[in-house]
């Protein structure tokens, strides 16, 4: 093996996808008829390649060795004398290998053909902008209501409280509040508007006592089944509806 060949082998090495690929390369390089493979020649060149790979200290996948033994086996079978009157049609020892090679070649070509098609996001592109209708749709999706449990209400409550500026929480509210007043107030508002958010009820006065009282009032009303609380999404706005249409 001369030097030029060595370099050639080394360069070609990483483009092979396994032993079948290597064999196809050897067949092409030697301009061999795939249906009539000179098995001795191909086996010799194949083994040279394996030596190359080993010499380069590259990992030799087990499949390459399996193929090597297959080739040697076929070669030895080819050397056996053909019986003069074969009992039944003896299959060419190369047949199975040829079938495998043809199949492999077919799919290599198929892969190449697929790659040449107009590929999405490479050659052809679809509409990617959101249409106004789609923007609308997402909004209405969020408006889809789900009934929430008291637990979820507490979650939401906790979230609201934690969002409030700490300083505001420190302020003392001088307004006198009673639970009954707030309950009456909520029911009164609901009789007018049919639906309220938790934030509506607080009317922007996000002081701790009002929040807690409002919250307790809601819990009481839910317990009494006077109102229903809904949430648009898990962390969405809580909406309160009268339990019974008045």
């Amino acid at each position: 093996m001369d030097n030029e060949q060595t370099i050639n082998y080394a360069i070609k090495l990483d483009i092979f996808e396994g032993p079948l690929d290597l064999l196809l390369y050897l067949i092409k390089k030697n301009e061999i008829d795939i249906y009539n493979i000179p098995i001795a020649l191909v086996t010799e060149q194949y083994l040279q390649y394996l030596k190359m790979i080993k010499a380069l200290n590259l990992d030799l996948a087990g499949e390459y060795l399996v193929m090597a033994s297959t080739l040697i086996h076929i070669k030895s079978r080819m050397l056996l004398p053909v019986p003069e009157e074969p009992e039944e049609e003896e299959e060419d020892p190369r047949a199975e290998l040829v079938r495998q090679l043809l199949e492999h070649k077919t799919f290599k070509e198929a892969a190449a053909n697929l790659g040449e098609r107009p590929l999405l996001e490479r050659d052809v592109f679809t509409r990617s902008a959101l249409l106004p209708e789609e923007v609308e749709k997402t909004n209405t999706d969020e408006e889809e209501l789900m009934e929430i449990s008291v637990f979820e209400l507490i979650e939401a409550f906790h979230r609201i409280v934690s969002q409030i500026d700490k300083k505001v929480l420190m302020e003392i509210d001088l307004e006198k509040l009673s639970l009954t007043d707030i309950i009456n107030n909520i029911m009164e508002q609901l009789s007018v508007t049919k639906s309220l958010t938790f934030e509506d009820l607080l009317k922007g006065k996000k002081d701790r006592r009002r929040i807690i009282y409002t919250f307790l009032a809601l819990l009481e009303l839910i317990k009494l089944r006077m109102i229903k609380a809904y949430q648009t999404s898990v962390f969405g706005v809580i909406r309160i509806f009268p339990a019974v249409e008045s």
């Binding site: 690929d21 077919t106 070509e109 198929a110 697929l114 107009p118 052809v124 592109f125 249409l131």
Partner: protein
């Protein structure tokens, strides 16, 4: 309806996936299927005649507007995202799954002559192939098939739209049976969508 063509055009345009004839029929319940078909053909023709920048492509069991392939250099200038490219190993594995599905890993490996674990995983991640089920043989190997996304990405109407394999027919007399099965499978797939 005054302008079926315009409605269909708008529907296909607004749909975020290829829109099937069946779905158009459901939406335009008052219009005959034949009439819808004719309108679709007319739209295809018109966009081609106009030498428009977009065209109506029949893909993945439906219709979708796409930009013309020859204009891709301009679109690439617009888009910063790189197209997903497949390695030769992945591409070959995909071709085998596409043509021989439903297929198990060991069958792919016997064709490729190497382990295909990595390319299979990559193709699953890219949603170009999917697990169809498990084969009822010892070890219950996973059966793979291509997805609708595969058809969309490779601009294919259906699996029959795959280019013919040159030599496979000689190699495999059962090819027709396989194809028949693929047709049945595809019809099923489409109706499951």
């Amino acid at each position: 309806m005054e302008n079926i063509k315009a409605v269909i055009e708008a529907l296909i345009f607004a749909s975020d996936a290829p829109l099937s004839l069946e779905k158009i029929c459901i939406i335009l319940s008052d219009v005959e299927k034949q009439e819808i078909k004719e309108a679709l053909e007319k739209i295809v023709l018109e966009y081609n005649e106009r030498q428009s920048g977009i065209y109506l492509q029949e893909v993945a069991g439906g219709f979708q507007f796409r930009t013309r392939p020859e204009l891709s250099p301009w679109i690439k200038k617009l888009k910063s995202t790189k197209p997903h490219s497949l390695s030769p190993a992945a591409m070959e594995t995909l071709a085998i799954v596409a043509y021989k599905q439903p297929i198990v890993k060991s069958e792919i490996e016997s064709i490729r002559g190497v382990d295909v674990g990595a390319p299979l995983k990559g193709l699953l991640d890219k949603k170009l192939i999917r697990i169809v089920g498990r084969k009822d043989v010892p070890g219950k190997p996973i059966i793979y098939g291509t997805t609708r996304k595969f058809l969309e990405v490779f601009n294919l109407k259906d699996l029959l739209d795959l280019p013919n394999l040159r030599e496979l027919k000689e190699l495999n007399q059962q090819q027709e049976i396989v194809e028949q099965e693929i047709v049945e499978k595809t019809t099923e797939d489409i109706s499951n969508l």
